[in-house]
């Protein structure tokens, strides 16, 4: 019917309209949901990155600490001097160690019961493939073969130039991979998906093979094996983690010592040699430059081509302050008088033009023009040279130095003459790189691209620089190159182009921060040198998760790490909160909470966005901060008998602690004496302004010595930490954050001040 039809039409129209609106509403809601997920993902990423970089800065601070010691600490007694001597020196690889190594591995017997892969040299492709298979089956290569392989690897590396030149004429394709960081699964996946190395399939691995992941040794074995089997097609670049100093902190040293209890030490020593002989860069068809970090405005490829790259054993160096001209003159005079000295410290103080730590910026360019000369160690390491100066305790010395305008050391402490044993580049030293060479290498191993033009010091890493698109352009033009491939930075998608697609970052460790955190990628270059990227995520689990679930998992991990950090700074947070609580009611606004947390942690995170995840309950926009801190502690604390503030401090510094342990434990035995620990910790805490009295330190040292034999078993101690991390305290925590402790020996700052 007429009216019926129009009514139908009317209804139909209405229905259509309603459906339209309903759909629009759902879409609108969904898009907001996705946006919030995206924001959470970014925040999570920020958390991981800022914690990672804060860790790297710690590393730099640690080195500043040691350099500070070298400059200012004058041993007041035999014991101190011996102690320092032992820490700060090591036997350099003199030429005679070559002989040692040669006979070393040959004398190692491989028991019949050993079922792992056996290598014979020269290596064949089958050997290399067998290695992959063996490692996939979780077998371990015997130390003898490890050393043998390392020895052969070094022989090969020594023949290579600093910049490897590769041509695409000979192989059909070249695949470039980025950081692997001990993640064997990713390497196996790459070979599986892309194919094994062969004369037709070239590979370039762009550094950072080790640290963080748990299979660094295995990765090295595979990479070195293929390099020996296909020397023309398989290429390795050095990364900033191919460095024994960095390894001390980031896990590779630990991994080696755990896997090779008897021969680990030797393996590590040999590796030092191998690492410093790794080429610095690879150049494809004279058009594509591949290096680990980046470039700077002074990068000089011709110079890089010529230097003796093995002189740079580690890129971690201590940096000294500028001294007055007079002192430099005096020192130079003193050096001329000095005769041969004792053992050489493994980091060699030299004045340099880069700022000495991320925290002390100074003017990058201005410092470049300062006079550079080598500054000898402040402390004489040879007993005879102990001076007539007034000896005071460590704290006094450091206190005085700190007071002296921070950086400049006045003349009164450093008297002219004497000090024979000064590490000085002129004084008949072992091969040492020049300032310039040093700088060049650090730049290419540590730098990161930035969006802005220019070139400035990389304060986040403490070495290298941030380089802008103009620097890239300048370099590409100067050497007639097409583009740069680098790694060094984790990217969510495994790769990232920048600088008008002239710089490609390629990162091959998937799930780097956490399962689901990021993809890995590699890039293939065909004859036209156009890049073709392949991404992956070497963990089947992640594929089955939805985006939401993936983000949740990673987020939870990041938040856990963040809460840990918050706990580690409980005391500081408490005093900061109190500043916002003038009326002492125990409440602060959430806004104040955010400000306080940032001022203590300095992580630059979006605290207001993160707040809902970190603060559970807040009535009326106000937070009861004491109970919030208490809850934090509940999650982290265990009922070990350690003062909570000590625990906090240990927590905060446990990476540093571990690094210090490993440095002190120069023979990698896994043990250090109480005394060594006590002395080092004392110095360390003074330098880092950690508020701990002598008594507390003694208590700390004694409590760490679990079996009371005067020695600290490093691994046991660190294991205790891991246990603390995992355990949930049962029962009451009424004394939180103060733990029950009989040793209330007047230590500074119990939890609630």
């Amino acid at each position: 019917m007429g009216s019926g039809t129009s009514t139908q039409h009317h209804f139909a129209f209405q229905n259509a309209e309603r459906a339209f609106k309903a759909a629009a509403l759902i879409q609108r809601w969904y898009r907001r949901y996705v946006a919030r997920l995206e924001m959470r993902r970014r925040c999570t990423w920020s958390i991981f990155q800022s914690i990672e970089y804060a860790g790297q800065q710690d590393q730099v601070k640690l080195h500043d600490f040691f350099s500070y010691l070298m400059d200012h600490f004058i041993p007041s007694s035999h014991n101190d001097r011996d102690f320092l001597t032992r820490i700060f020196t090591e036997d350099r690889f003199a030429q005679d160690s070559e002989m040692e190594k040669c006979s070393d591995y040959e004398s190692i017997e491989v028991p019949d019961s050993y079922t792992g892969p056996r290598l014979s040299f020269p290596l064949l492709p089958d050997h290399a493939t067998a290695l992959i298979e063996a490692f996939r089956l979780k077998q371990q290569l015997h130390a003898r073969y490890v050393l043998n392989l390392l020895y052969e690897t070094k022989k090969h590396l020594v023949q290579l130039p600093n910049i490897n030149r590769v041509s695409t004429c000979y192989s059909e394709e070249i695949t470039v991979c980025g950081d692997l960081h001990g993640q064997l699964d990713d390497l196996i996946f790459i070979f599986y998906k892309n194919g094994l190395p062969s004369p037709e399939r070239s590979y370039v691995f762009n550094g950072d093979f080790v640290d963080r992941g748990k299979d660094s040794v295995e990765i090295l074995m595979i990479l070195f094996a293929f390099m020996l089997v296909y020397p023309k097609e398989f290429h390795l670049n050095r990364g900033n983690h191919e460095d024994h100093m960095v390894n001390l902190r980031y896990g590779f040293t630990k991994e080696v010592m755990n896997k090779y209890k008897i021969h680990g030490k030797e393996i590590l020593r040999t590796l030092q040699d191998v690492f410093c002989w790794l080429p610095l860069a690879t150049l494809i068809d004279e058009k594509v430059l591949i290096l680990h970090g980046g470039v700077s405005d002074i990068t000089d490829l011709e110079l890089l081509d010529k230097i003796e790259r093995s002189k740079i054993v580690s890129t971690m160096r201590c940096k000294t302050r500028q001294k007055s001209e007079k002192q430099m003159e005096e020192k130079r005079k003193a050096n001329q008088k000095s005769s041969a000295q004792g053992p050489i410290p493994w980091f060699l103080p030299e004045s340099r033009s880069l700022p000495s730590s991320p925290l002390r910026l100074g003017s990058y360019k201005a410092q470049k023009t300062s006079r550079s000369s080598s500054i000898p160690c402040g402390g004489s390491l040879d007993g005879r040279e102990l001076s007539r100066q007034v000896r005071s305790s460590v704290e006094l010395e450091l206190e005085r130095c700190r007071q002296q305008a921070g950086l400049l050391v006045t003349g009164e402490k450093e008297e002219p003459s004497r000090s024979a044993s000064e590490a000085d580049s002129e004084a008949g030293e072992l091969r040492k790189p020049t300032q310039e060479e040093w700088r060049q290498v650090v730049d290419i191993l540590w730098s990161d691209p930035m969006a802005q033009e220019g070139c400035k010091a990389n304060t986040i890493r403490g070495g290298g620089c941030f380089f802008g698109p103009d620097v890239t352009q300048q370099l590409l033009q100067k050497y007639n190159l097409q583009f740069l491939i680098r790694s060094h930075e984790c990217k969510p998608e495994g790769y990232e182009f920048c600088h008008n697609r002239k710089v490609l970052t390629i990162f091959s460790a998937s799930n780097y921060y956490e399962v689901g955190s990021n993809r890995g990628a590699y890039v293939k270059l065909g004859p036209a040198l156009t890049p073709h990227i392949v991404q992956y995520q070497a963990n089947k689990v992640t594929h089955t998760l939805t985006m939401r679930q993936r983000i949740s998992r990673v987020e939870e991990s990041a938040l856990r790490a963040l809460r840990e950090k918050l706990f580690a700074h409980s005391s500081d947070l408490l005093s900061e909160f109190k500043k916002h609580d003038a009326d002492k009611v125990g409440l602060i606004t959430l806004s104040d909470w955010a400000a306080a947390v940032e001022s203590v942690l300095h992580l630059g995170l979006p605290w207001r966005m993160l707040r809902p995840q970190l603060v559970n309950s807040s009535a009326d926009n106000m937070l009861e901060y004491k109970s919030w801190l208490k809850n934090l502690a509940k999650e982290q604390l265990s009922h070990e008998n350690v003062q909570s503030s000590l625990l906090e401090t240990l927590y905060r510094n446990r990476s540093n602690l571990e690094t210090i342990f490993r440095i002190i434990d120069s023979d990698h035995s896994g043990f250090i004496s109480l005394d060594e620990f006590r002395q080092t910790w004392k110095l360390f805490s003074s330098h880092m302004n950690i508020d701990i009295t002598d008594d507390c330190i003694c208590d700390l040292a004694r409590s760490i010595d679990f079996n009371k034999d005067g020695h600290i078993d490093i691994n046991e101690f660190l294991e205790a930490f891991r246990l603390v991390e995992k355990s949930w305290p049962e029962g009451d925590s009424s004394e939180c954050p103060q733990a029950t402790n009989a040793k209330d020996s007047g230590c500074s700052s119990p939890g609630a001040r």
Binding site: A22, A24, L25, I26, A35, Q452, T546, P606, R608
Partner: protein, 162 residues
């Protein structure tokens, strides 16, 4: 009243901090600009729920005279502050969302088939891109029944948000 004015100032100051934080998350070059394509994410993460159309209008408001592809913080801040003060683009309550699904489910079965969902989401309203559609499907669709029980779906998503 002086009090009222103070309170207002405090609120505005707090908004400013929030906005700045959200903005900085996407300010990759640390130069107080973000890619215009991220503005939607920023606005939504600050608690607002505009339609695509409204979003386009907002972008036009904060863009440069000659669009550069980047939005500057100085232009974004006042606009966003106003939005927050006026409580514009409020999020959608759960029950309203449920009713929207029910409208699409004309037969009142309690679920939508995968095809129906795809049809509505990609043809009606402000259509989804393929990527958006796939992403929604991956979480929403029960692979065995090949349909979405929207009530459960909403519950799950809401819990997740909080």
């Amino acid at each position: 009243m002086a009090d009222e004015k103070d309170r207002q100032e405090i609120i505005v100051a707090e908004f400013h901090k929030k906005i700045k934080e959200a903005f900085e998350v996407f300010d990759h070059e640390s130069n107080n600009t973000v890619d215009v394509r991220e503005i939607g994410t920023i606005i939504r993460s600050l608690g607002c729920c505009p339609t695509e159309g409204e979003l386009h209008d907002l972008i036009a408001e904060v863009e440069e005279e000659e669009p550069t592809g980047y939005i500057r913080f100085e232009k974004f801040l006042p606009v966003m502050t106003e939005i927050l003060l006026e409580r514009k683009y409020r999020p959608i309550p759960e029950d309203v969302l449920l009713r929207a699904f029910e409208v699409l489910d004309s037969a009142k079965r309690g679920f939508l088939t995968k095809d129906e969902l795809i049809k509505y989401m990609t043809e009606e309203g402000e259509p989804f891109s393929q990527e958006e559609m796939e992403e929604m499907l991956s979480a929403a669709i029960d692979p065995e029944s090949n349909s979405i029980n929207y009530k459960d779906y909403i519950t799950m998503m809401v819990i997740d948000e909080n």
